[in-house]
């Protein structure tokens, strides 16, 4: 049967990764991957995907952020139950970290397939740009801030970023990297208002305020891969972005460690979250489609697919048992942290409801855009968001 798959992977590296999935699926024979890419980002695509599922015209499979995005849909019984195949193939045994897999569970049943691990706490830097600015490549956030003015003098954008979720990503990264793992968990997992009001959190906001100074005004309306290409071309020196940025570096033929480098946890606290992309399979009336869905699900977690896909996407595989010989320097750094598990935290998507998550995003992007907003004001609002979070 034709299996329509919706996702928002339209940037270069992402599209290449999607192609891997499509081709592998088509190769299995019998069924066909019908690509339903929706350009923009999750914010454009999610409403369309959700409304289609609600509207009773579900696609065969769809990308959704693991976490609570899909929870209500699962609750309403709109998603295919994958428990059977998951048990049969023993997914629980090889998917790591297990928290990632937990996100797919609802009342003990499995409803989604995680396809990769995305880690977000990265600062991508272009050494050549720092050299051109007459400063050494920074080792951590503080050094980077110090280098800012010199870079600006040379007309190099210190920090390339884009609107909305991209600046929010910077903020959340800072909570774990500047504030540390403890703070991150207290605030986001425990919804601890006291922690949110703490001096540590204030430091996070202060760092975030510094980031605001280091970005160029052109960030408005810029997409993340445009920002990445600014770093690639040396027009900007750094970008704080998830590991998917590596896909772009890869497409541009750049080599990690030489052409570009990465600061895990902004060089401060090497904490990684384990978010990622996951696929859901909305319930379908056609049994052929259901069969195809299960086939796709099983294929997605297979070793072969995992390697090829994650290399293209720049993310980490969900299996601990795959060979990562082909992985680059930065990926290896990530795998190291992941293997230790100490410094792994759940992703914000898993901890916060979409509502709270986007409240935080609203605050962080407003703060980023409005230089006159003080750290105190922002923190006060942050506290009230955390207080009301559910």
């Amino acid at each position: 049967a034709d299996l329509e798959v919706t996702h928002w992977w339209t940037a270069g590296g992402e599209a290449a990764a999607a192609k891997v999935l499509a081709e592998s699926f088509n190769k299995l024979g019998g069924d066909k991957w019908v690509d339903g890419a929706i350009a923009g980002s999750g914010s454009t695509a999610t409403p369309i995907i959700v409304s289609r599922i609600l509207g009773g015209n579900p696609m065969g499979a769809t990308q959704l952020n693991t976490g609570r995005d899909a929870e209500d849909l699962v609750k309403a019984g709109l998603m295919t139950d994958l428990t059977e195949i998951a048990t049969k193939e023993g997914w629980a045994d090889f998917i790591r970290p297990s928290k990632l897999f937990d996100a797919c569970k609802y009342e003990g049943k499995i409803y989604c397939v995680p396809v990769n691990i995305h880690t977000e706490q990265w600062m991508w830097v272009n050494p050549a740009a720092f050299k051109a600015g007459g400063v050494s490549v920074p080792a951590n956030w503080q050094e980077f801030v110090a280098a800012g003015p010199k870079l600006k003098e040379k007309d190099i954008i210190p920090l390339a970023t884009g609107d909305a979720w991209q600046v929010n990503l910077i903020f959340n990264d800072m909570v774990s990297s500047i504030g540390g793992k403890e703070l991150f968990l207290k605030v986001y997992r425990d919804k601890d208002a006291v922690a949110a009001a703490s001096p540590e959190m204030k430091a996070v906001f202060e760092a975030y305020a510094q980031a605001r100074e280091l970005a160029d005004p052109g960030y408005v309306g810029r997409s993340w891969n445009e920002a990445t290409s600014l770093v690639i071309s040396g027009k900007a020196s750094a970008q704080i972005m998830g590991d998917w940025a590596q896909g772009e570096f890869g497409v541009a033929g750049k080599v990690a460690g030489t052409d570009y480098d990465c600061l895990l946890g902004l060089g401060n606290n090497p904490v990684l979250n384990t978010g990622g992309d996951a696929f859901y399979f909305p319930k379908n009336e056609n049994p052929e489609v259901t069969k195809a869905q299960l086939k796709l699900a099983s294929m997605m977690v297979s070793k072969q697919t995992q390697v090829a896909f994650n290399l293209a996407k720049g993310s980490l595989p969900i299996r601990g048992d795959v060979d990562l010989a082909a992985a680059n320097a930065c990926m290896k750094k990530g795998v190291e942290v992941l293997n230790k598990l100490d410094n792994v935290v759940p992703s914000v998507n898993q901890l916060l409801s979409p509502d709270t998550k986007l409240e935080v995003e609203d605050l962080s992007k407003e703060f980023f855009a409005d230089a006159s907003m003080t750290v105190e004001d922002a923190q006060a609002r942050f506290v009230s968001i955390i207080e009301q979070a559910q």
Binding site: L54, D163, P217, F368
Partner: protein, 297 residues
């Protein structure tokens, strides 16, 4: 009209009633039904899916305590006032100029009207290109040698909403011009002659005689423009995406986002209800005016 039906027979005007079934269904199911549904569920804690857990005015309390909503509402006000004032004024001036027996009237009319044919998405994209500082007007002027020239309203959260106004005016003023032109052409030419004979300067004639006479046209225009203002969405999405920060957010976007993306239907519907109420507040005075107007005719 004297052929109003006797009300008591169901089968009188049967054909008319049958023909009006689609309209009646639309009205009852879509407009009334959906509105009621919206209002009722705005008092619940519905998340992704509608559920009937009533929480009183909680959603409204939260709504009015959300900075983003307040910014959206203020933005809608700013956008609304500026769009209304400028599109009416500019539209009228253009129409008045076009009415001066000029040559190339058709060409000018086409030029002023064509943006209306383009979608807000296209409008937003084009103006984004033009207003982007790294690329558009600012860069062009700087390249001309004015190194310090700054025109970056798109990236300044104080002015981003005015970028939306500029693009919106570009899109919609042509229609206003067309309406005004039609209105001007409907004015008895003798009025012009009379005011000439009275020795009244042209601008005074416009101000004190023609504009008051065009009241119905102005009302139509204002109503039309207002409907567009309340539902402004695509333009913001394409032009600023609501940014920088939340600086150019608008209510329609708030509603849409809460319904489908934040999985907080209750909150989205509370915002919808407020929007619907606003619309009613706009319409009712107009409807009353029209009613009286109808009697006067």
């Amino acid at each position: 009209m004297s052929h109003a039906a006797r009300p008591n027979t169901l089968f009188k005007n049967l054909n008319a009633k049958v023909a009006a079934v689609p309209m009646i269904a639309t009205v009852l199911i879509v407009f009334i039904g959906c509105t009621l549904w919206t209002v009722v569920l705005s008092f619940t804690s519905s998340r992704s899916l509608p559920e009937l857990t009533f929480v009183g005015f909680d959603q409204y309390t939260r709504l009015f305590n959300t900075p983003r909503w307040n910014v959206s509402a203020i933005n809608l006000g700013i956008f609304g006032v500026f769009t209304l004032v400028f599109s009416t004024v500019i539209g009228f001036i253009l129409a008045a100029l076009m009415d001066q027996k000029i040559r190339f009237e058709g060409a000018f009319r086409t030029v002023f009207l064509y943006p209306y044919a383009l979608s807000f998405i296209v409008t937003g994209l084009v103006w984004q290109w033009i207003l982007t500082p790294t690329f558009g007007i600012q860069r062009v002027v700087r390249d001309l040698g004015f190194e310090t020239f700054t025109f970056s309203i798109l990236n300044d959260q104080r002015f981003a909403i005015y970028a939306v106004v500029i693009a919106g005016l570009w899109h919609g003023t042509g229609l206003v011009m067309a309406l005004m032109l039609a209105g001007l052409r409907g004015i008895d030419e003798d009025i012009w002659k009379a005011s000439r004979v009275d020795g009244i300067p042209i601008w005074k004639t416009y101000l004190f005689i023609v504009i008051p006479m065009m009241r119905p046209v102005f009302i139509t225009t204002i109503v039309l423009v207002s409907t567009g203002i309340v539902r402004v969405y695509d333009l913001v999405v394409a032009l600023t995406g609501g940014g920088p920060g939340n600086a150019s957010e608008v209510p329609a976007k708030y509603v849409y986002e809460f319904m489908f993306r934040r999985a907080n239907l209750g909150q989205g519907l509370a915002a919808s209800t407020i929007m619907l109420t606003t619309v009613l507040i706009i319409i009712i005075p107009w409807a009353l005016m029209e009613y009286r107007g109808g009697k006067r005719k």
